[in-house]
Amino acid sequence: MGYNHRGIEKACEEKTYIQGLYLIERVCGICSHAHSTCFVQAVEEIAGLEVPRRAKYIRTIIGEMERVNSHLLWLGVAGHEIGFDTLLMYTWRDREIVMDLLALVTGNRVNYGINTIGGVRRDIEPEQIKAIVKGMDKLEERTKYYIDLARKESTMLERLSNVGKLSKEDAIRLSTVGPTGRASGVDRDTRRDDPYAAYDEIKFNVITDDHCDVYGRTLVRLKELMESYNIVRQGLKQLPEGPITVKAPRKIPAGEALGRYEAPRGEDVHYVKSNGTEMPDRVKIRAPTLANVQAVAHMLEDGYLADLPIVIAAIDPCFSCTDRMIQLKNPLTRTKKTVAWEDLRLKGIEWYAKKGVDFSRLNRKLENCLG
């Protein structure tokens, strides 16, 4: 696995809670609100702060709009990985609607900066409510079309079905979270099981599927989009009047708490330990991808190399890496061999040459073009 360890947990110990909040919002570019909410909830629990109901609703609304942003992004990436780039173009065009709405409400398309310890920093205005409802209706109509597409379009059906299998038993055994687990029939969702923000006052369905493959993961995310539109509309309709913050102390009393949040990719976990100063003693962040990434190796067993991109993409991973290296394990002799990118390329050329396909003329042409 490729990685780029940024030392955010250590950095949090050297910053105040408010500074840490902005840093934590940048753990992920897409689930930024997920991480900041998860963190503030833990801090608020230690400090014994009663967050105003209106703030809880605003957190919920932004959280669901973030999920819409994330799932539409995923659908586009999935389309791209199976060579269906029209889907990428369509979904990313539609995604602009929700990103513009997020910018309208929070001021930013990503890293919304809406949370603060004790509530939210910006209120939602009546005109904004109208714009959001209109946007959700439009996106709902588009999503219905994508669901129809996923059920009928042979490119999607054939390319996604029976790829990246993960049985329910394995999904539980490997502690998978979010749509990855739910598409293997694991009926878990932090929003329902361990409600936070305003989720205990909102009606929604937890989507599960028993395909146990990439196709199932696609259906779960598509249907979750439909639920998100409903949650946003309900939240706006039920939005209680009142303040949006309570005053939070700079120094947080000694204590510990564990925050949980259902991010678009699954359960996000933040453990915070305070020591009575204005800086935390320890912040532990477990992003959902870390829980799911270990199931990928299992999903790839007995699969095709060509399915590798979509199987990895199907957990909606979030890491900055491109490792151009493959390790071959021979199960009979238990030996390992490393294949570099260049060797893999040559092997590909050889393989095609044996089948009578010759790239050498094309390659020479290309080299001439590049000078």
Binding site: L174, S175, R192, A257, Y271, R282, Q294
Partner: protein, 153 residues
């Protein structure tokens, strides 16, 4: 009796040394301390009998006073998380692997090794995680005395 209270009482009935060691912080959040010598039997009970069948995370921390704490956060299907903490001395910080219970624990245990220099008995050899391969030996960034400047010194 609430669900959390029920879990707590059953645990104390089974292991009477856990009396006074279990705290229900709020609905669905249970914290407990266990001596390292008793860790395995309590952990085994929670996972195999009390229904905490998912691993959320493992938190390692330097508590000062020459003590490290390792907290195992495990959850059940009812939305509750049990955080079981055990403490180990800094001069010989060793825990046993829990990969026998959760195959996915591997990655969190490597974090303990890389970031705090805790030894994990029984963990398969593998590549380091999460620090880069060229990270200097013996530098553990989550130890309290570690400062950013130290790495380049």
């Amino acid at each position: 009796m609430s669900n959390e209270e029920d879990i707590k009482q059953k645990l104390i009935e089974k292991f009477n040394y856990m009396d006074n060691a279990v705290t229900i912080k709020r609905e669905r959040r249970i914290f407990a301390d266990v001596a390292i010598g008793h860790f395995t039997e309590v952990f085994d009970y929670l996972v195999r009998q009390a229904g905490f069948i998912s691993l959320c995370a493992i938190t390692g921390m330097d508590e000062g006073n020459n003590t490290f704490a390792v907290i195992y956060h495990i959850s059940n299907f009812g939305g509750a998380v049990f955080s079981l903490r055990t403490r180990i001395p800094r001069e010989n910080p060793t825990v046993k692997t829990i990969t026998g219970y959760f195959a996915s624990a591997d990655i969190y245990e490597r974090e303990l090794m890389d970031l705090l220099g805790i030894k994990v008995d029984g963990l398969n050899e593998g590549r380091r995680y999460p620090l880069p391969d060229n990270w200097p030996q013996g530098q553990y960034p989550l130890r309290k005395e570690w400062k950013r400047e130290a790495k380049n010194a």
